[in-house]
């Protein structure tokens, strides 16, 4: 903890035991599946199918225009249309609707003859064609990090899962340990890096032992445990903790690429089977869920079907349905939105009234900000509509991790004010350019 910089991290009550030890459930695949035409926050997709088209699992549905991101069908059946539906971005978005014929006919996306002897270019092309994205929640296309790869010496496989309640990566790593190391090795080859570090949180002895045992067979892979603090899974903090390196904008400045554990597993499976991500493990947890559990879900399944499959919500009261964990997950107004391949959790929390009092200016948010910003001052500047000051306070660096609101003793929505400040300053910048 720095004298001038504060802590920038905090231990959270994890509530992970709710879903840590239980069985993994299987969610039945519904009669209709909706594939959202959204990648992260981008929605610029060119649709490659039309109403009435027959599709199989792996049929290309749409391509992103600004960068190559393919979306594949996850069931076989007939396209019944393009519909606007509620999405995890909190907005109505276009979805490709497919009527499932329950035949599960497959078509390979890529066909790799010799998966054990692939060149660097082959692997990067495979990552691109498989549509591997950051499966920790960002949805950022992974090949982008490898396209212009240069001077990378370390690949970090992020299995930290620092948000409370979420255990999907834990379970996925437990059952797919072999694929995880295999995928990690592909990422290493794609970047021509010297080493791979698989990072998990402390306090998971079984997983650590299993990973260690598997990693022994790979000469470049090591497994490291990191402290149980939030936001340990954030790549900047993870890189700093593991390599003692800092960077300004992108991890590649520190000669590191970070990939999510689930992405590595998907890559390995994709290369070995030729199929894109068609289902994923999702943690459905929180105090608003009757039986919190991890469940295998076909991508494109609406959340209400998943929740029905595991026993529903608690009976009484009001609550929030969050796409993601309780810190960064967004509250969605209904449970009709669908699961994307990069969505690792649904958290349902009972509504809790917080009594907000005046800001004390105690500076706890400044002390805990992982980016070492000063949220209390950004909030003052935002309230005063002072764009210049917002710029000086480096507001654009905020990653909206939610730490300032979490820590605020006065229960003020600090993160919200900072996010507003970001938008205000962004507008000012655009106006200046214009």
């Amino acid at each position: 903890m720095g004298l001038f910089t504060g802590k920038g991290r905090v231990h959270l009550a994890g509530h992970k035991d709710l879903t840590m030890h239980g069985e993994i459930a299987q969610c039945p695949v519904g009669d209709t599946i909706a594939i959202p035409l959204v990648d992260g926050t981008a929605t610029d997709f060119e649709i490659c199918v039309k109403e009435g088209d027959e599709v199989k699992i792996g049929t290309l549905l749409a391509l992103r225009k600004s960068m190559y991101v393919p979306l594949y069908a996850t069931v076989s059946g007939v396209v019944t249309g393009i519909e606007k539906r509620m999405h995890a971005t909190k907005r109505q978005q276009n979805h490709v609707i497919i009527a499932n014929n329950h035949l599960d006919e497959k078509v390979k996306v890529i066909d790799i003859k010799d998966p054990d002897h692939m060149t660097q270019q082959d692997i990067i092309e495979a990552i691109k064609q498989l549509g591997i994205v950051g499966m920790g929640g960002s949805g950022f296309p992974a090949y982008k990090k490898y396209e212009a790869v240069k001077d990378i010496d370390t690949i970090i496989i992020n299995g930290v899962e620092c948000e409370p309640y979420i255990t999907s990566d834990y379970h996925e790593m437990m059952r797919q340990t072999q694929a995880l190391c295999d995928g990690a090795e592909y990422f290493r080859k794609a970047a021509q890096a010297q080493r791979v570090i698989i990072a998990i949180k402390v306090g998971k002895p079984e997983l650590y032992a299993k990973l260690e045992a598997t990693a022994k067979n790979y000469e470049h892979i090591t497994v490291t445990q990191v402290p149980d603090v939030y936001p340990m899974g954030w790549e900047r903090l993870l890189i700093e903790t593991l390599t003692k390196r800092t960077y300004d904008r992108l991890p590649s400045e520190a000669h590191v690429i970070v990939d999510n554990a689930a992405s590595a597993i998907s890559l390995s499976q994709g290369i070995r089977t030729g199929m894109p991500v068609i289902s994923r493990l999702v943690t459905v947890s929180g105090n608003g869920i009757k039986y919190p559990t991890n469940i295998d879900v076909r991508v494109g399944t609406p959340v209400h079907e998943i929740i029905e499959a595991i026993g529903g919500y608690v009976a009484d009261g009001e609550g929030y349905v969050l796409a993601g964990g309780p810190m960064m997950g967004r509250s969605i107004m209904n449970d009709r939105f669908v699961i994307s391949e990069y969505m690792n959790a649904i958290t349902v929390l009972k509504k809790q009234e917080e009594h907000t009092v005046a800001c004390l200016k105690c500076g706890e948010c400044t002390l805990h900000c992982p980016m070492h910003l000063q949220p209390v001052r950004i909030m003052q500047a935002e309230k005063a509509n002072d764009s210049d000051l917002l710029g000086k306070l480096d507001v654009m660096r905020c990653v909206e991790c939610g730490m300032c609101s979490y820590i605020c003793p006065s229960k003020i929505e600090v993160t919200d004010f900072v996010a507003k400040g970001k938008r205000r300053y962004g507008l000012t910048l655009r106006r200046k350019k214009a």
């Binding site: 720095g2 004298l3 001038f4 910089t5 504060g6 905090v10 959270l12 409370p164 608003g288 608690v314 009976a315 009484d316 009001e318 609550g319 929030y320 349905v321 969050l322 309780p326 810190m327 960064m328 997950g329 509250s331 969605i332 107004m333 449970d335 958290t347 349902v348 929390l349 009972k350 509504k351 809790q352 009594h355 009092v357 005046a358 004390l360 200016k361 105690c362 500076g363 706890e364 400044t366 002390l367 070492h372 910003l373 000063q374 209390v376 001052r377 000086k392 306070l393 480096d394 660096r397 909206e400 939610g402 609101s405 979490y406 605020c408 003793p409 006065s410 229960k411 929505e413 993160t415």
Partner: protein
């Protein structure tokens, strides 16, 4: 379950709240108040204890009534004076700074000024510029100085000067005319404000509160640390025992009370880590300067009020990310310490040992 939408993230909050912080503070202040009452009974008699109890009672009643009227004028629920405005903390801290001889009407006036002019007129809790308790204290000090005595005149009239006054009379040399030993200071065996002598309890409470994250120890440590540093410099210049001088200055007057309960008031102190450190150093510097050179032997009250004024400016010392320009931040701190050391050292050279004739007078002057 009915699904509601929450417009903001995160939906997850830490257990500590402003209410629990203020509750912890209230417990700490209550403990100090009770200890100060016991101390009065132990050092004098039951009448002193009752007087102290009465002072706390009148101060709290004044604050509660003032806030209650204010809340009803502004059509807020009466409950909010405790849940939102935390009206009990200010009067207790205010009373802790008063000497035992303060008449009840002065307590009432001071508590009213602290609550009304110190806090409510600025817009209530969280909006005030100055530490409310100290606003009350300074008005009382300037208006009723002769009433703030260390004895109850109807019980007995003998009185001795506070350690700060006594030490000031020796021109801060602490010659044999200064008849308080270090253990007297440590155990509070002297007259002074109600909360002044409770050094051991204050340190314990300070550590507990810091561990419970009730306040940021950066201010307290830099305040006490810089006072210790400047006392060391002063001792070297004056040619007296450095350790004794440091211990005396740390335990003198309201320094511990101020450093732990008043300077750390988050509302009136800077929010950035660098700002807090600079704030603490400046407080130490001003306290020592006022002690050594100003007419008033006790510098905590004025130094905190002066630094309250400078808080917004200190906050502008660092904009942007706090992990940038670490060298510059360190230099700012070192420069502040060097300037302070230089000035306090220079000021100390102007002090001369007290003349013999003055020694006899020290028992007469007191506040």
């Amino acid at each position: 379950m009915i699904i509601k939408m929450k417009r903001t993230t995160p939906a997850y909050r830490q257990p500590q709240s402003t209410a629990t912080i203020m509750r912890d503070l209230l417990i700490a202040e209550g403990t100090l108040a009770i200890a100060s009452i016991i101390m009065q009974i132990y050092r004098h008699n039951i009448n002193y204890g009752l007087k102290a109890l009465g002072m706390y009672f009148f101060a709290i009643m004044t604050a509660v009534i003032t806030e209650g009227i204010w809340a009803s004028i502004h059509q807020k629920p009466l409950k909010s004076i405790v849940t939102d405005s935390f009206c009990l903390n200010t009067p207790i801290i205010f009373t802790l700074t008063l000497p035992i001889g303060t008449p009840y009407y002065v307590v009432v006036i001071g508590a009213f000024i602290a609550t009304f002019f110190g806090k409510l007129v600025y817009g209530g809790f969280g909006q005030n510029i100055f530490n409310p308790a100290l606003v009350g204290r300074v008005v009382v000090h300037l208006s009723f100085a002769s009433k703030l005595t260390n004895s109850l005149s109807f019980v007995d009239a003998t009185t001795s000067p506070t350690p700060a006054t006594a030490l000031a009379k020796t021109n801060w040399f602490g010659t044999s005319a200064f008849h308080y030993s270090l253990s007297d200071l440590l155990f509070g065996m002297h007259d002074g404000a109600l909360g002044e002598g409770l050094i051991i309890l204050l340190v314990i409470i300070g550590i507990i509160l810091a561990l419970r994250h009730v306040y940021d120890p950066r201010i307290t440590i830099s305040y006490l640390g810089s006072v210790a540093l400047f006392a060391l410099v002063s001792a070297l210049v004056l040619g007296i025992h450095p350790c004794v001088n440091i211990a005396r200055h740390l335990m003198l007057g309201g320094l511990m009370l101020g450093a732990i309960l008043m300077a750390t008031d988050p509302v009136t102190s800077p929010s950035s880590p660098l700002g807090k450190i600079i704030y603490g150093i400046s407080l130490g510097f001003l306290t020592m300067l006022i002690r050594l050179k100003a007419n008033y032997p006790e510098g905590v009250l004025f130094s905190i009020l002066i630094m309250n004024m400078l808080t917004p400016w200190i906050d502008t010392l660092i904009l942007g990310r706090t992990n940038q320009h670490l060298k510059k931040q360190l230099i700012i701190v070192l420069v502040a310490l060097c300037v302070g050391t230089g000035i306090i050292g220079g000021v100390s050279t102007t002090l001369e040992p007290p003349k013999q004739s003055k020694v006899g007078e020290i028992y007469e002057a007191h506040y």
